[in-house]
Each structure stands twice: as structure tokens, then as C-alpha cells.
């Protein structure tokens, strides 16, 4: 009966398609606006009416990575000509690149380091959380554990705690052991909340691997450990990858812990980017450039992960 539609159904369907289109435009406009602003010259970022058509330029990204100061006087023609292309862009924006007095090296802004910190902290905490989480999930999935539901509730509840609640004692304890503003300190915190998530999600994935696979391996003379590594783990790899991506995104986006526990050395991008707005007139093109670079990994991951999002976001409760 496919294809046979009453006029009313066709009409409803067309309205729905139109409505979906409108919703899509509204939902994506803020993201588009970030991307567009990241390629605008500064004077076009805050215009009325908003600038939609413009010649894209990369100067916001140059400014994002360099330390700059206001130009007191125009550079001489010689200075300008001698400058590399990217430095010209900074001159054109009425600023100059700050250099080290002695070596003449260009001073970098804090963004690159913050981005690197974000990568270090997110990747390590994800690897640890997914490895430990997979083992624990296997333990809960295959063996009898006394009070299993209570343990699982305990594990989940540690993730539900508001970050600031946990941060107060952690801050005091870290101060004692010297972990404030260190990568290690942040990695531990991120591992803790990703670990509980990883256990829940991985348990769902491992529950789905038929027990018969391991039983066959055990009958063939594998030890339980061999059966786990050679039979279960390869089957669980897709699930582990999906879990890893979700853990990475959570750690990557985390703000409150990073704000409280770090300030210079180990600060990640999320607390750094808002700190650049400050007072006065912020350069929104630079903030947009920093935001865009920060969002790109997540956007790619979201696309790769699209078939696992449902299960991930519902803690494994709902599967397609």
C-alpha cells in the first residue's frame, strides 16, 4: 500500500518537511554563526544588519595563536613589507605581534597550550576509564556479584554528583598533595566520572555478546582470561570505541572542575576561552576562531558516533 496517500496525508507530510527544514535552520544558525564569525575581519563581526556575505580571511586564527598589542604608531613601509603574510594581517587589524625582546621570537597566546592540555587530559582519562570500565562491566555481566544492583547504583551515583560538590573537598585534598593545577589532578577527576559512565555503557554492550562464545572457548581449553581477551574483547571493540568517544567528548567539554582545579599550568580550553571575553569590547572573531577549533573534533566524533548516540546518552537503557 506504499505510495498511496490521501491528499490530506500528502499535505501533512509537506508541512512536516517544511517544519523540519525550519527547525534545522534555527538549530544550526548559532553553530553557523560561530563558523562564519571565525573567518570575518574584526569590523564585520559586530555590524547591524549582520554581515552575511564577506570575503573570508584567516586573520582570526593568526590572532588566536599569537600574543598581540595595540599599534601605537603605524609600521613603516619597510617594516610592513618585511613582515610575513600573517603578520601583515595583524598590522591590518591595527595591532602588532608581541615578540621576545632578546630573541625576536613571536610570543604565542595561551590558546595552543590550553588546547594541548585539553588533549592530554581528555585522551588519558578516556583510555583509563574505558579500559577499567570494560573489565568491570565484564565482571558484572558474567559473574554473580552480591548486591549487583546496589553496586551499579553506587557507580552511577558518583557520576550524578554536581561537580562543585565534589570539587570542594577535592580542592582541599589536592592542595595537601600538590595536585592542584596539574594534568594528573584533572585526569583523576575526569577518569572518575567517565569510569562510572563506561561501566554502565559497556555492561550493555557486553551483555549482548552471547555467553556461548566464551563457553565454546573454555571447552576448547582456553582459560577464562584468554577467553576474555581473545573472544570477548574483539566482539566488544565497537562498543569500546563508541564509549571512548563519548568519554572523550565529556572530558573535552568539561568546565567546572577545570575552572576550579586549574589556572595556568594545566588549564584546559573551556575555562580559558570564556576568560578571554573579559570586560570591554571582546574580539569576537578570535573567540569564534578558538571556539570553532575546539568544536571541530566533537563535530567529527558526533558524526562517526551517530548510530550509538541513543544508547550512550541513555546510559545503555535504550538500544536501537
Amino acid at each position: 500500500m506504499a505510495g498511496v496517500r490521501t491528499p490530506r496525508e500528502t499535505w501533512t507530510n509537506r508541512t512536516a518537511i517544511f517544519a523540519v527544514f525550519v527547525a534545522l535552520v534555527i538549530m544550526l544558525t548559532p553553530i553557523y554563526w560561530i563558523a562564519a564569525t571565525a573567518f570575518k575581519p574584526r569590523n564585520l563581526a559586530t555590524t547591524i544588519p549582520p554581515t552575511v556575505a564577506f570575503t573570508p580571511e584567516v586573520s582570526p586564527f593568526v590572532k588566536l595563536f599569537t600574543k598581540r598589542s595595540q599599534l601605537r604608531e603605524q609600521p613603516t613601509q619597510e617594516e610592513y613589507d618585511a613582515a610575513p603574510w600573517w603578520e601583515k594581517m595583524v598590522f591590518d587589524g591595527g595591532e602588532k605581534v608581541v615578540r621576545n625582546r632578546k630573541t625576536g621570537e613571536v610570543r604565542s597566546s595561551g590558546y595552543g597550550d590550553r588546547f594541548k592540555n585539553s588533549l592530554i587530559v581528555s585522551i588519558i582519562s578516556t583510555l583509563v576509564a574505558v579500559s577499567m570500565g570494560t573489565l568491570t562491566a565484564y565482571g558484572f555481566s558474567r559473574f554473580k556479584v552480591k548486591g549487583e544492583d546496589d553496586w551499579l547504583f553506587f557507580i552511577l551515583s558518583t557520576r550524578m554528583l554536581p561537580p562543585v560538590v565534589v570539587a570542594i573537598p577535592m580542592f582541599l585534598m589536592y592542595r595537601v598533595v600538590g595536585l592542584n593545577d596539574t594534568h594528573m589532578g584533572l585526569i583523576i577527576l575526569y577518569t572518575a566520572f567517565n569510569l562510572s559512565f563506561a561501566v554502565w555503557i559497556m555492561k550493555g554492550f557486553i551483555d549482548e555478546i552471547p555467553k556461548e562464545y566464551e563457553e565454546a572457548a573454555l571447552v576448547d581449553g582456553y582459560t577464562r582470561m584468554q577467553a576474555f581477551f581473545k573472544v570477548v574483547l574483539p566482539e566488544a571493540l565497537t562498543g569500546m570505541a563508541a564509549t571512548a568517544v563519548l568519554c572523550f567528548i565529556t572530558a573535552w567539554n568539561e568546565y567546572a572542575f577545570a575552572l576550579i582545579m586549574t589556572n595556568r599550568n594545566a588549564q584546559t580550553a573551556p575555562p580559558y576561552i570564556p576568560s578571554q571575553v573579559g570586560s570591554g569590547l571582546p574580539d569576537w572573531t578570535v573567540i569564534a576562531a578558538g571556539t570553532l577549533l575546539f568544536l571541530i573534533p566533537v563535530a567529527i566524533f558526533t558524526f562517526l558516533l551517530r548510530n550509538h548516540l541513543l544508547r550512550g546518552m541513555s546510559f545503555g537503557a535504550i538500544r536501537k
Binding site: 547591524i48 549582520p50 577518569t191 582459560t223 568544536l295
Partner: protein, 301 residues
């Protein structure tokens, strides 16, 4: 029997003869995680429970003085704290209602054959994956009264979204709805696709109206999953910190988490804030409990 091998945790089991016993493996796999979580989540909380009975201030070197339940008494009788709670309640209500209406609406729209449906769904889900602090911050530009695109496209002139104390909470909730309506949509879509088609066919044969079909078939069938989405979002909205903190410093948007942050890390009332954290903690554990009960109920279906 094979299934016996699976669950027997006897150190002398057949598999144990070579390599680790099942009991050892179970403990080896589970205990490190439990220990890790106890050391880094539960122990710190016990540590701060102790401080919650003192007047300790982390900014000074004065030793903590035991004050008994004074902090709790002060907090629960402080009208400003109740103000924070009522702001939070209002925020949760606005933002979760908005997310359910928008998210469920989107799911209803998408629950049909559409060209490029997979791509559209993924694109709609994008906001929820992004950092609340970083993307939320950018809404400052979108909301700007002078050159923000929101005022421009809605023709609102110089409407003050974030500077007007009465509007700011709504402005924050709108960003939250933008980010998290996709979550409700995702879960609702799963619920909608699980509704058996024959129910709709039966309703059509009975010439049931579309409203009747919606309220008697669609909604009851989706309700359990929708409930999960609502409880989860309520819990998250209750904890909101990032978004409100980067967008506004109005007293009218001072959510519980922000008050707690200021008390602990700006005013350095460590003892008092530990007590406050405990009050919040008990509330969160209560909601989590409800949430997990629901999760298990839906899983059991």
C-alpha cells in the same frame, strides 16, 4: 553444564586449574574500579562532611573550629539560599518543559519517511554534543542588544536579554533548550519507532481522530522513555553551572550550583559550603534514585 561454568565462582573450578579462577578474575576486574571511585568520590565527600560541622575557611590558616550543626541551621534559615532554590526550581521548570515540548515536537516531525533523515537527525543532535561553557559563551554575541542576530531577526530592537534581571534566566534557559531539546528528541524518536504499527492501523479502522490517536496511543507508548528523558534532564538542569556562569552574573540567575561555587571559592566559606554541598547532594541522590528505578523499569520491558 555450560551455564554452571559461567556462574560458578569456585576457586577449584575447571577453568581455575589453568590460569586464574573465575572468582579471582571477577575481583580483579571489579575491585579496582570500586576502590578508585571510593577513593576519589566517596572519601572526599566524607572529608567534607567533617568540614561541614566546622567554621573552616580555606583562605586562612586558622584551624577549623567545631560548630556542630550551626552551618546547617544557618543555611536552612537563610532566606537568600531559599531564593537560590526557587530560582533553580524556576529554571528547571522552564528549561525542562521547553526541552520536552521542542524535543518531542521535533521527534513527531521526524517520525516519518523523510529524504536524508539520517543526516538531518545527526545535524539536529549536534548542539547537545558541544561544550556548554564554550558555545554558551558565544550566545552572548547572539543575544547582544546592539548587534546580536537574535534581536535583528526577531525585530526586537535593542531588547536586553542578559542585562535585564527579569529576562536573563529565560535567556539562559533558551540556550539550554537549544542544546538539550535534541536529547529529548533522540529518546522520543526511539520511543515512537517502538510503537507497534498495528495500533495505528486499528485506530484508523475505527476512524479515530488524530488527537485521540495521539493521546490514547502515541503518548502512553512513549511515556516511559519520555519520563527517562525528563528525569535525566531535571537532574542535569538542577546542577546547571557552566551555562549560567558564563552568560550572566545577575543575582536573579544565581542557581544553586553558582551560589555554592561562590560560597566555596570566592567567599572561601569552606565549612559552610561543605554543609551546603551536602544538602544539594542529598537532593541529587534522591533524584538519581528515582531515575535508576525508571531505567530498570524501561530496561525490563
Amino acid at each position: 553444564m555450560a551455564s554452571d561454568v559461567m556462574t560458578k565462582l569456585d576457586p577449584k573450578s575447571k577453568a581455575a586449574a589453568k590460569g586464574f579462577s573465575d572468582l579471582t578474575i571477577r575481583n580483579l576486574f571489579i575491585i579496582p574500579t570500586i576502590v578508585f571511585l571510593i577513593v576519589f568520590n566517596i572519601f572526599p565527600l566524607l572529608y567534607s562532611l567533617g568540614y561541614s560541622f566546622t567554621d573552616f575557611r580555606a583562605s586562612t590558616n586558622n584551624p577549623a573550629k567545631f560548630v556542630g550543626l550551626q552551618n546547617y541551621r544557618d543555611l536552612l534559615s537563610d532566606p537568600f539560599i531559599w531564593k537560590n532554590f526557587s530560582i533553580t526550581a524556576k529554571y528547571v521548570l522552564i528549561s525542562v518543559t521547553g526541552q520536552v515540548v521542542v524535543g518531542f515536537g521535533l521527534a513527531m516531525l521526524l517520525n516519518r519517511t523523510l529524504p536524508l533523515k539520517g543526516l538531518i537527525t545527526t545535524l539536529l543532535l549536534l548542539p547537545m554534543m558541544l561544550s556548554m561553557a564554550v558555545v554558551g559563551l558565544f550566545w552572548k554575541l547572539l543575544y547582544d542588544p546592539n548587534f546580536g542576530i537574535i534581536n535583528y531577526f526577531l525585530g526586537l530592537g535593542k531588547f536586553e536579554w542578559l542585562a535585564d534581571p527579569d529576562v536573563a534566566l529565560w535567556a539562559i534557559a533558551i540556550v539550554d533548550i537549544w542544546m538539550w531539546a535534541p536529547f529529548v528528541m533522540l529518546l522520543s524518536l526511539a520511543g515512537l519507532s517502538a510503537v507497534p504499527k498495528h495500533l495505528y492501523e486499528a485506530a484508523e479502522i475505527d476512524r479515530a481522530g488524530s488527537l485521540y490517536t495521539f493521546f490514547r496511543i502515541t503518548l502512553p507508548m512513549v511515556a516511559p522513555i519520555l519520563m527517562i528523558a525528563i528525569i535525566f534532564r531535571t537532574m542535569e538542569a538542577f546542577k546547571t553551572f557552566d551555562l549560567a556562569y558564563v552568560l550572566s552574573s545577575q543575582p536573579t540567575t544565581e542557581l544553586i550550583a553558582i551560589r555554592l561555587y561562590k560560597m566555596a571559592f570566592q567567599e572561601w566559606q569552606t565549612g559552610m559550603s561543605s554543609a551546603f554541598a551536602y544538602i544539594v547532594l542529598i537532593m541529587v541522590v534522591a533524584i538519581t534514585n528515582i531515575y535508576v528505578k525508571y531505567l530498570n523499569k524501561v530496561k525490563a520491558r
